[in-house]
């Protein structure tokens, strides 16, 4: 019973605040202040959520280390790496390290390098996968995909001898691809609208959780 009452109140609260927020977003709405405050509140909650997430991440890996679960070594590395970075940033913010951006150095030297390298490997996989696209079966879908890919790539290349593909490539990118993207975006917009309406009407599944 209490659970149901709580759920009902929660739903009413969410619906009410949602309507207020929506009302405040209208131009000249007197509820703009309340709406802005609510949005700011959401931002703060989001920031806190990130903080909680980081703490949870560290705690989970710490437990794995303490329990000796498989892969505890990696958890240990993660835990100490995060801890070190946090400490360095704290020290940096405290001004103890003048003119030395340790966090920036770590970010650019480690994070950016690693992620860029991993991203660079993607091209190899993509090319290899595309080359083996029709290895087992040749069908019209795969053939169309492959031909389109080749035309777009060739058209994108600035090779004078292959300039004839530029127009085709441009057309593919601006017409079919753009049309598909528009359709995708329209679908996303409709879905977002529907989700919003469901939330405002109390029909969102999250209410039942």
């Amino acid at each position: 019973m209490i659970r149901r009452i709580f759920a009902t109140l929660s739903s009413a609260l969410v619906i009410g605040l949602g309507l207020i927020t929506l009302w405040g977003l209208f131009p000249g709405s007197p509820a703009a202040v309340v709406s802005a405050a609510l949005i700011q509140l959401v931002v703060i909650v989001g920031a806190v959520a990130v903080l909680i997430g980081v703490i949870n991440l560290l705690w989970v890996h710490l437990r794995r280390v303490l329990k000796g679960d498989p892969g505890w070594v990696y958890s240990l590395v993660l835990f100490f790496a995060a801890l070190i970075v946090i400490v360095l940033i704290v020290v940096e913010r405290l001004g103890l390290l003048e003119d030395i951006s340790v966090s920036g150095f770590l970010f650019s030297s480690v994070q950016v390098s690693v992620e860029s390298a991993l991203s660079g490997l993607l091209v190899f996989f993509l090319v290899y996968a595309a080359a083996r696209l029709m290895r087992h079966r040749v069908n019209w879908g795969a053939l169309l995909f492959l031909v389109t890919l080749l035309i777009v790539l060739v058209g994108w290349l600035q090779i004078p001898s292959l300039g004839a593909f530029n127009g085709v490539s441009e057309w593919i990118r601006t017409v079919p691809a753009s049309a598909g993207a528009r359709g995708l975006l329209i679908g996303v917009a409709l879905g977002a609208t529907t989700a919003g309406v469901r939330v405002l009407l109390g029909q969102d599944p999250s209410y039942r959780e």
């Binding site: 977003l25 703009a32 202040v33 709406s35 802005a36 405050a37 949005i39 700011q40 959401v42 931002v43 989001g46 920031a47 990130v50 913010r93 951006s101 966090s103 920036g104 970010f107 650019s108 994070q111 950016v112 390098s113 690693v114 992620e115 860029s116 991203s119 660079g120 091209v123 190899f124 993509l126 090319v127 290899y128 595309a130 080359a131 083996r132 696209l133 029709m134 290895r135 079966r137 040749v138 053939l143 492959l146 080749l150 790539l153 060739v154 994108w156 290349l157 600035q158 090779i159 004078p160 990118r173 601006t174 691809a177 753009s178 598909g180 993207a181 528009r182 995708l184 975006l185 996303v188």
Partner: protein, 1248 residues
């Protein structure tokens, strides 16, 4: 022959015909109909369907069979029907009980006359319960109606028979005037009984079905009607395949195609009989003229006896007996067990259309007379029957053929068809006198008089009279006294007269209502229906060796719930002990001699149903019926009949109650499924319960084949894993018993897991996959090695095989690691990407055209160029390090342009890594000397935050965070500035703006995905109407392009190419610049050559501008030759050693510490130590370490001619070439791979 359907008396009409009368409004009077498959046979057909389902109908068809194997069949009939008289109605009870709802059967039963006089009707209308046993015969494979009939029978969904329910008003007083047994009426093949009577044409009683009727009839019935009733109809149009094929075949074809055991419904056989070509020829000889005077009044059923009497010398008992069996053609398979070949009539079906009714009648009767096989069956005639036969040359049956008046063509009145829609006033008198009330219908029919045609009692031996079986008496009992009383009573044999004149054995016993709590559901449903008035099915107590299948079922099955009987049953108890035949006394002495109230009363049946059935079981067991049943089952098994696995799989040890499953929402279960559900208690009469009762068959009675199958099934079931039990139970909830039959796959558990060892069926695709896997694992070689030279499999050493498999798997994995294709692709790509950095590929690949086309790139450059110094640009840094290689150039060039304009970028990001990466990018720009030089910053005066740019902290909340930007700024009275309050490092930004659109004339988003662009457009552009430009990756361009095309984005830059173009244009617009002295800080003029509104315009003057006279503010302090340890002089400038010197504009500063000739004041102590990167002029007076005070004369201003700066665009072109070459190689590899794959695929197709 006494064709009942030819009798003009309505009370002699079969029930089914009466039902049709009710259901056919406005039906025209009947006209001569073609043979058998008329609606009159429909009930028979339906019953026969059930019979076929259980193998009761022999392949040759009932009709043919009845004529061919008369003796044996007669014995069975006699026994069973005799039991019909002595036992109550277990058949109908069982029948209902099996399905729980058999409305058509109810209707048939209700329509019938009192059952005591209609024993055979039980066999026809009330199909015994045992007939529902799924013992297939060859018939069911060919006959669609068989299936449909079975289904309908099981489900009770026979709406066409619902209309036969005698709920309509019928003369109650004529209840006893319906002595004609329904089984006679429903006899599928009427003609053969009275061969002399040409007018005994069935068709006249079979009105042609109207269109309405056809609609009401089931499909199979429609087909039958079309095929057989109306010669004009196109048989093949809507007929089932088997029927269509039959109709299309010639006689020879049919003869060749149809084997004796092949399934042909009896009604079809009946229909074909008149088509016999030989019939017309033989008829005059064999058929006596049926126009005797007595025939006018004698009912058809009595014509049998008359005929026998009139033909004492030539009487062929077998021939005469045929009609009896013909009428019993719809009886269970025990009548048809020894089926013979199809009658020739079937073979002449195509001639039927050309025949008149008379011709057809002649043919039909002629065909019936085929005596070819009768003699073969003579030995099967039981003794008691022989006793009848011997004197019978005269025939025990008063069969003087005189039933039909030839001059009565319309013996079927108008009201015959569609009577149910007609006013009953149109019905004849007899009809109006019929009482259809429950009491009347269930009352023992009173035969007021003997049959009209006098029977020659002298010709009938007394023994025969006394021993006349009840089935025979039943044949005569139903003689419609009211309509056909032509036979004088004195001519009736004694035994028959006694029967006829005998009062009803039971006085209209309406089924006593059972207590509500005792009434099962199915019975309650029946009770809700109109009171049944049909005859009670009777369980015959036939000899064990002659017991039919359905009887065997009764015997095997536990006593079913006894349905409240609705009518009395004429049993042996009704007869005087002396009247009952001896054989009947021998078979069932207790029943025959027992008082009626002890054995036969419905109350007893209801109250002691089990006892009743147990009595039957005992009798059957004593008579060896079980053995007979086992023999029949063996025969069926030998014939390839299918058996229900449920029968074998259901564990008989488990009580039925425990197996019952409560199904939720049972009320929602369809009727057909509900009918199949198990019913509580062993008395449950659902199909499932009945099937389960079969387990009670002793194992020793099962045939070897069944026992073998049973054992194998048990083994398979026992071998199932426990996990499968869950699935079975779930399946059993839906279809109880089905789960057991689904457990055919035996799973064997091994240490490494379970494997499906048996019953694995692979399709082609699966086999292909298995083959592929085996090839990959090298198992094909192993399999080959597992066969010796002789091709015999070598015994497998599991351990050795496992080791070999492991080795093969390891080899396969090793092969998988070595993918030369992947390595080749990687090497080629790497080479293509790296090569441009070492080789000039300018001749191979062109650089992109440095033109920003508004239709492609938009007006981002123009908007930025229009910025004024001090303007702020909101820049969304929505990407991280992963795409930094592609987006960093774009971000740098855009930020450079913004900074060149003197504007302040305010960077915000909803990506935590994006914030950090923005700081990385801006840090590089902040120290870019070229940029600094253009904006008037000396190299040692990098851009700082928040003076020159602002990086806001991470903006959490995603889309809400973006919205918070606008929410904060839109409200002029916002409590705080929100995210704009502090920068990334927590320092106050100093940004104080009220309206976002007023503070930011431009917004840019550098996004990794199209989703980021969408969010910015939706939340920022639409909220505050800020012009937004986007810089995205090449992958996100298609998603972002629609926003640009719609005008929501002022510009769109994608990928490294647009970055290259933009940067080229930007650099072209910038004039050359020289470095600035570190000690000066000025804001130069507009670095761009063109106007602000013109965007980026390449500089017209490519000459290096002269050194800008920069007022150099020298340090007031002394500059020593020995720099301070912490002082790091900029190498780009050299302070003038002369205090008042003015450098020449062309003078090149010497970036050397040794050139530092600044004059330091000898006196004074420097108070401030210069920093590494002096931002301010040193005003302190350095004090040398030795204490000497160096005095210098500072120069207030000087002209600094800095170094001509070049933008740091290292490897910019190389990167472009690398990108192009990499893309080119990738395109080539992909295209080559595609071509190779296509060729290989074509080869594979060709090989296949």
């Amino acid at each position: 022959m006494t064709d009942d359907r030819q009798t003009p008396q309505g009370d002699q009409l079969p029930d089914w015909l009466k039902g049709r009368i009710h259901e056919q409004p406005g039906e025209t009077p009947a006209r001569p109909e073609p043979p058998g498959p008329s609606p009159a046979d429909l009930p028979d057909q339906d019953e026969l369907d059930f019979l076929r389902d259980v193998g009761g109908v022999p392949p040759g068809g009932v009709r043919e069979e009845s004529s061919s194997r008369l003796p044996g069949a007669a014995v069975d009939d006699a026994d069973l029907w005799a039991r019909d008289d002595t036992v109550e109605e277990p058949e109908a009870i069982t029948l209902r009980g099996m399905t729980g709802e058999l409305p058509w059967l109810d209707d048939v039963v209700h329509d019938k006359a009192p059952a005591a006089q209609e024993p055979a009707d039980d066999d026809i209308g009330g199909i015994p319960a045992g007939l529902f046993e799924d013992e297939p015969s060859g018939f069911e494979d060919a006959a669609l109606p068989a299936d449909s009939g079975r289904l309908r029978g099981l489900t009770g969904a026979l709406p066409w028979l619902d209309d036969q329910s005698p709920g309509e008003e019928q003369p109650p007083e004529d209840a006893g005037e319906m002595p004609e047994p329904d089984w006679l009426d429903q006899a599928p093949t009427p003609p053969s009984f009275d061969e002399d009577d040409e007018e005994l044409a069935v068709p006249e009683l079979e009105p042609e079905p109207s269109a309405e009727e056809a609609e009401d009839l089931p499909d199979w019935l429609d087909q039958a009607d079309e095929a057989f009733e109306e010669p004009e109809a196109q048989p093949g149009e809507e007929l089932p395949d088997w029927l269509d094929s039959m109709g299309a075949l010639d006689d020879e074809d049919i003869e060749a195609a149809l084997e004796p055991g092949e399934a042909v419904p009896d009604w079809l056989a009946a229909s074909d009989e008149p088509e016999s070509e030989e019939a017309p020829d033989e008829q005059p000889d064999e058929e006596p003229v049926a126009s005797e005077a007595a025939a006018e009044s004698v009912p058809d059923w009595l014509s049998e006896a008359d005929e026998l009497e009139e033909e004492p010398a030539d009487f062929d008992f077998e021939e005469e007996e045929e009609p009896v069996l013909e009428e019993a053609a719809a009886a269970p398979d025990w009548l048809d067990a020894e089926a013979v070949d199809l009658p020739d009539e079937i073979l002449h079906e195509d001639e039927e259309e050309e025949l008149t009714y008379d011709e057809w009648q002649e043919q039909q009767e002629e065909a019936v007379r085929e005596p070819s096989e009768e003699e073969l069956l003579a030995d099967e005639v039981p003794d008691w029957f022989d006793a009848i036969e011997e004197p019978g040359e005269a025939g025990p049956v008063p069969a003087e053929a005189a039933p039909v008046d030839e001059g009565e063509p319309e013996f079927v009145p108008d009201w015959f068809l569609g009577l149910e829609e007609q006013d009953t006033s149109e019905a004849p008198d007899w009809f109006s006198k019929i009482e259809f009330s429950a009491d009347a219908m269930t009352a023992q029919p009173v035969i007021p008089e003997a049959p009209a045609e006098p029977v020659q009692p002298a010709e009938v031996p007394a023994a025969a009279e006394q021993e006349a079986p009840d089935w025979l008496t039943d044949i005569e009992e139903p003689a419609p006294a009211a309509e056909a009383p032509a036979v004088p009573a004195d001519e009736v044999p004694d035994w028959f007269a006694d029967m006829a004149g005998e009062p009803p054995a039971v006085e209209a016993p309406v089924a006593p209502a059972a207590p509500a709590e005792e009434v099962p559901d199915w019975m309650a449903e029946i009770e809700e229906t109109p009171p049944p008035t049909g005859e009670p099915p009777v369980v015959p107590a036939a000899p064990a060796e002659e017991v039919p299948d359905w009887m065997a079922e009764i015997e095997e099955a536990p006593p079913p719930v006894v349905e409240p009987t609705t009518e009395p049953i004429a049993t042996g108890a009704d007869l005087e002990p002396g009247e009952a035949p001896d054989w009947l006394d021998d078979l069932a002495p207790d029943l025959a001699g027992a008082p009626p109230e002890e054995v036969l009363k419905p109350d007893d049946i209801l109250e002691g149903g089990e006892d009743f059935m147990s009595v039957i079981d005992v009798e059957l067991a004593e008579d060896g019926l079980l053995a007979r049943r086992a023999q029949e089952a063996e025969l069926l098994a030998a014939a390839g009949a299918d058996f229900d696995l449920d029968e074998l799989l259901v564990d008989s040890d488990v009580p039925l109650e425990e197996e019952e499953v409560e199904i939720e929402g049972a009320e929602e279960i369809p009727d057909w499924l509900a009918a199949a559900r198990p019913v509580e208690g062993e008395e449950g009469v659902s199909a499932v319960n009945i099937a389960r009762r079969r387990d009670e068959i002793p194992l020793d009675e099962l045939t070897d084949r069944l026992q073998t199958l049973r054992e194998r099934t048990r083994e398979a079931r026992d071998a199932e894993p426990k996990e499968m039990a869950v699935e079975r139970s779930s399946a059993a909830e839906v279809l109880p018993g089905a789960g057991d039959s689904l457990s055919a796959i035996a799973l064997f558990e091994e240490p490494g897991g379970r494997q499906v060892m048996l019953d694995v069926t692979l399709d082609k695709a699966q086999e292909s996959r298995v083959s592929t896997l085996a090839s990959l694992l090298g198992l094909d070689a192993l399999s080959e090695a597992a066969v010796d030279e002789d091709g015999q499999p070598i015994p497998v050493d599991e351990a050795r095989e496992a080791a070999r498999i492991r080795e093969a798997a390891q080899r396969a994995r090793a092969r998988s690691r070595r993918k030369p294709g992947r390595i080749l692709v990687s090497l080629l790509l790497a080479l293509a990407v790296v090569l441009p950095f070492f080789v000039d590929l300018s001749l191979l690949v062109d650089l992109p055209e440095a033109v920003l086309r508004p239709e492609v790139h938009g007006t981002i450059d123009v908007e930025i160029q229009n910025l004024s110094p001090g303007d702020m640009v909101l820049v969304g840094f929505e990407y991280g390090p992963t795409v930094a290689g592609e987006l960093d150039p774009l971000a740098e060039v855009l930020l450079t342009h913004i900074l060149l304009r003197g504007a302040k970028p305010v960077v915000v990001s909803t990506n935590p890594a994006g914030v950090l990466h923005a700081r990385e990018v801006l840090a590089r720009l902040a120290e870019d000397e070229f940029l600094l030089a253009h904006i008037g910053h000396p190299a040692n005066a990098p851009l700082t935050m928040p003076e020159d740019y602002v990086i806001l902290p991470y903006l959490p909340g995603g889309v809400v965070g973006l919205r918070s930007l606008t929410a904060t700024s839109v409200d002029v009275n916002a409590l705080d500035r929100g995210i704009f309050a502090v920068d990334l490092e927590g320092n106050p930004t100093g940004l104080d703006f009220r309206l976002l659109q007023m503070a930011f004339p431009l917004a840019l988003t550098i996004a990794e995905t199209g989703e980021d662009v969408r969010l910015w457009v939706e939340q920022v552009h639409e909220a505050v109407d800020i012009p937004i430009g986007a810089a995205v990756t090449g992958a996100a361009e298609p998603i972002a392009r629609p926003y640009f095309d719609s005008g929501q984005l002022i510009g769109l830059l994608a990928g490294y190419r647009d970055a290259y173009i933009y940067d080229t244009v930007l650099l072209a617009a910038l004039p050359p610049v020289r470095s600035l002295p570190e000690d000066g800080r000025v804001r130069p003029r507009n670095p761009f050559a063109g106007g602000d509104s013109a965007g980026l315009v390449p500089s017209e003057d490519g000459d290096v501008p002269a050194a800008t006279p920069v007022p150099v503010q020298l340090a007031q302090g002394l500059m020593t030759n020995t720099p301070m340890p912490s002082l790091t002089p900029s190498p780009t400038w050299t302070p003038s050693p002369m205090p008042s010197a003015t450098e020449s504009p062309t003078e090149t500063p010497v970036p050397s510490d040794q050139d530092l000739t600044a004059t330091a004041l000898a006196s004074g102590t420097p108070s401030v130590a210069p920093s590494a990167t002096p931002r301010e002029f040193i005003t302190a007076t350095p004090v040398p370490e030795d204490g000497e005070v160096i005095e210098a004369t500072p120069t207030p201003t000087r002209v600094f001619n800095g170094e001509l700066l070049e933008p740091d665009r290292t490897y910019r072109d190389e990167r472009w070439y690398s990108t192009m070459l990499g893309a080119l190689v990738a395109t080539a590899l992909i295209g080559l791979g595609g071509i190779v794959n296509i060729v290989q695929w074509i080869r594979r197709r060709q090989d296949q």
